[in-house]
């Protein structure tokens, strides 16, 4: 039985201006900061139905609905958030924020450094996943939410969900990590480094001070995005989507042929430079690379997860090679060894890493069923 599926409709961002200083993992202190966020659904009386969304590398707070009626596209996770959807706003109060260091309204490299009165740019401190989780906890305090029914994220967002379970066991009842990993593989770090090199070797990067100089490293940032896109799709998925279709030109005049896949990547790369900040891209990829909760427990992930108390759902996709199912299986194995409640599924999909953003029926069914069951168990309406 499925309730009617629809959109959360028109939403508007809100702002949390935190005046409490935040000491970061590296010792740097942000004297104050701002987080932009959106909420969907209604917080219940005992504030037990809050669900936190953590975004991935290029994500932001606008996860569902539209900002204006004429918006051509809804939020980035609209496939999974809304009335009757996997993260059901009929049941959950969903919070989605732009992470610290982001470029969509939260304090980040584009913000003014209060110490200098100038744009932070490359001087914005390095952020690690734990710093995000701490700032998200401050947002939860601000909203008077003592514990989350669930913390949910894909990719880098899944890492934040895991960190939540580790750092605030008393504040998380369910952790969902989708297409994620307990740490990046060498190959994954390698792709990030190529993307960073693409940005920093662009002349217009200007050592990160491009904003001061009135330029933008469009070529480098666009190239970084193109590399990312290739790794988020699968060979088979690209074959299905583009094949060898030609966008323009013809093979008899071989010098002006443009394949559809080239056109797509060029478009995506260029579009990205209009809304994303290069310093944020560097910051986010470094946070991805550095994430490794087991580093603090001598490389032992089981030990790192020992203190967690929530239920876990670990989802991955068959064709995702950037965050393969094996990485998810490592999390599952560690959780089983640590005697934690965990369920997992490997969803058949040809869409690679991008699958976690798509309305794949088996995926959304699994996610929705798990979350609704967790909420029902807590409210005593156990079936």
């Amino acid at each position: 039985m499925r309730s009617e599926v629809s959109s959360v409709g028109k939403v508007s961002p809100q702002h949390f201006r935190c005046q409490e200083p935040l000491t970061l993992q590296n010792g740097a202190v942000l004297p104050k900061y701002e987080l932009v966020y959106e909420t969907y659904g209604t917080l219940n009386d005992d504030k037990s139905n809050a669900l936190l969304i953590c975004h991935a590398l290029s994500g932001h707070h606008h996860a569902a609905g539209v900002h204006a009626d004429e918006d051509p596209k809804p939020g980035w996770w609209d496939a999974c958030i809304g009335p009757g959807k996997a993260m059901d706003t009929n049941h959950f109060f969903i919070i989605s924020l732009n992470n610290l260091g982001g470029c969509h309204g939260s304090t980040g490299p584009r913000s003014i450094n209060p110490d200098t009165g100038k744009i932070y740019g490359p001087d914005f401190p390095n952020i690690v996943v734990r710093d995000w989780v701490r700032s998200q906890a401050a947002l939860a305090d601000h909203l008077d939410i003592k514990s989350f029914a669930a913390v949910v994220g894909g990719s880098l967002g899944g890492m934040q969900a895991l960190q939540w379970a580790i750092d605030y066991p008393e504040r998380v009842r369910a952790c969902v990590a989708i297409a994620s990993a307990a740490k990046l593989s060498a190959q994954n770090i390698a792709f990030n480094e190529i993307a960073r090199q693409a940005i920093s070797s662009d002349h217009d990067f200007a050592n990160g001070r491009y904003a001061d100089e009135g330029v933008n490293p469009d070529r480098g940032l666009g190239l970084a995005r193109m590399i990312g896109h290739v790794t988020y799709l699968s060979d088979h998925g690209m074959g299905t989507k583009f094949g060898r279709e030609i966008k323009s030109g013809d093979f008899d005049e071989a010098d002006n042929v443009e394949f559809q896949v080239e056109s797509y990547l060029n478009y995506q790369g260029q579009a990205f430079t209009r809304y994303f900040d290069a310093n944020t891209y560097l910051l986010m990829t470094k946070a991805l690379d550095h994430f490794d909760p087991a580093r603090e427990t001598g490389g032992d992930l089981v030990e790192a997860l020992r203190g967690t108390t929530c239920k876990f759902l670990i989802l991955s996709f068959s064709s995702d090679w950037r965050f393969s199912s094996q990485r998810s299986q490592e999390i599952v194995d560690a959780l089983v060894k640590a005697k934690k409640n965990v369920a997992s599924a490997v969803i058949e999909s040809e869409h690679g890493h991008d699958s976690f953003l798509l309305p794949i029926e088996r995926y959304t069914d699994a996610l929705g069923t798990f979350l609704n069951r967790c909420l029902a168990e807590h409210s005593g309406a156990d079936s």
Partner: protein, 200 residues
């Protein structure tokens, strides 16, 4: 919830709060019952998407994993009981899986349809056809059951493998333990249930 006969038998063997692994857990009925009644820390492995979805709806710790890919990812002595109901005959390497089950669990419970049952013998011996029955409902060309055995075969392998049979129960098609079955188990039992341990 009323458990299927063989699952009810298994449920009786499980201690409260035990750590249990169910290989090929299907729709998760056994684990759901064990979680509710005995507060076990239980996990089920399955590879069928529909089964996994059913398990999720019951709040069962289901892990998507193909038994034919092995269970080497589980640590030694990680469970008190490792269960496998009616999957032994369908896996690629049942002997290796049994070894693994007793590596990661202190004890194991294995159930399987007995190919020595008189109905099977009758169908093959007199009719000259591969047996089809309630427990073995598939035609030869589409059966998942690639390693069928009799209770004698199974016990012979246990002896060779130095696997200790702690308990054996043999039942008819309605999962009843009738006295006639005990007279000639390999002929009369349609289904067998073994509780296994490592050598003493």
């Amino acid at each position: 919830m009323t458990l299927r006969g063989d699952l009810a038998l298994i449920s009786k063997l499980i201690n409260p709060n035990a750590r249990v692994l169910d290989l090929g857990c299907g729709s998760g009925d056994l684990l759901a019952a064990l979680q509710a009644e005995k507060a076990v820390n239980g996990y089920g492995l399955d590879r069928d998407p529909a089964n996994i979805q059913l398990c999720l709806s019951k709040g069962v710790n289901v892990i998507e994993q193909d038994l034919d890919a092995g269970i080497g990812n589980f640590a030694d002595d990680n469970f008190e009981m490792v269960i496998m109901t009616d999957a032994l005959q369908a896996v690629r390497d049942p002997r290796e899986l049994l070894r693994q089950m007793l590596r990661i669990g202190e004890e194991s419970v294995v159930t399987f349809p007995n190919f020595g049952h008189w109905r099977c013998r009758l169908q093959l011996g007199l009719k000259g056809q591969m047996p089809v029955s309630k427990h073995l409902p598939h035609d030869w060309y589409s059966t998942p059951n690639i390693h069928l055995c009799t209770t004698l075969d199974f016990e012979k392998m246990c002896e060779e493998e130095n696997i200790r049979i702690i308990q054996r129960r043999v039942v008819n098609t309605r999962y009843q333990e009738h006295w006639t079955i005990q007279l000639a188990p390999n002929l009369m039992a349609s289904h067998a249930f073994y509780r296994l341990g490592r050598p003493l």
